[in-house]
Amino acid sequence: MKISVLLNGLNTIMDIEPHEMLLDVLRRYGCLSVKRGCDTSSCGVCTVLLDGSPVLSCSLFAAKADGHRITTAEGMQTEIAEFADFLNREGADQCGYCNPGFALTIQAMKRELSDPTEAQIKQYLAGNLCRCTGYVGQLRAIKKFLGVES
């Protein structure tokens, strides 16, 4: 079947199987920033924005995205580069595998929450896991990026 999406600002017609997950379709169409981590809706490395809201592409039928706007890290390179700068300065990056998912969720959080508390940041980001860092450096970077008090 075919679906029509606005992928990173471009009208895109995609050929999909009815049971295919959005993750596999996006990777097939060149969005390699979208990664497969757990495949059980737990880790968040597959996060993309659907109409601006973060969703888990490993658990979303691609057909559900028909007629909607999808944003991956490829479509937010400038914004994500700005956030990556904060990560670098806090030494908050190791393997980088979780970064695209984290960055997209943080972009959505920045739009949705004004002046979030640490608890709110943690709750919003609870669906993005990192196996490397322990989150401390990342949290510092996020707070500085959002301009909230430590």
């Binding site: 199987e17 009815p18 049971h19 997950m21 658990s59 039928f61 559900k64 980001l125 609870a126």
Partner: protein, 265 residues
Amino acid sequence: MLTIAEYLKPQSIAEAYHLLKNKENSVIIGGGFFTRMSSRKIGAAIDLSDARLNEIRETEQAIEIGAMVNFSQLEKDTALIEYFDGIIPATVANLPGQQMRNMVSVGGTIYGKYGFSELLTVLMVLDCQVVLYQGGVMELTEFLNLKGKPQDILEKIIIKKENLKASYKMFRYSSGSLPILTVAVSEKNNQYKIAVGARPAMAALAIKTMEYLNSNEQTDDSPLKAAEIAAGELVFGVDRRASGEYRQELCKVLVKRAILEVNER
């Protein structure tokens, strides 16, 4: 491995029901979380995303929640924050990660009758009805007691607005895991409702416990005694997360805490 022959997105619940009845091996898709993890051969997947079931509506008497409302909408709704001690937004916030809350649907949660469903446990202690497209309006507890899953479509739930106090308690090993035990208590005019879920079976009302509290004067010992009755009357089983005995002990603690919290409000 899951296979789907045809993926359909009807524009109304009437159209969805027609497809459900006429397409061979058809399945309704809400959020799709558990469907996609199954190994089934589905003839027609009927996705309700475009069927206009994703609104929360407040009337004078009740709050109506469409079947395709997601947990993120529940979390932010001002009426739900105001009523029932804000127990619904507080409970759905436990689902880890904004992504999952953006995807999980109310209808999928209720129709699935999942034992670990925190929302279901909470709804059981409120005055909640379900509206099925063909089956009409029925009490939530009546729906949950139906054998199997009727070939019908859940359209919405209706929660009567009441001035009651409510508390929700749960235990899970980590924020990212499913709850091992869920407890909800509500109280209105000294009448209590108590529901316990993740037994690991679906949530059940603790009937004898409610009778004890509702027909006896409250003393300092009442919460503990009630918790012991609840732990004794309900059946707890074992799964990979916990034993029945562990769940029973948790029940004693969480029921007592929930009653105390409601009493203090």
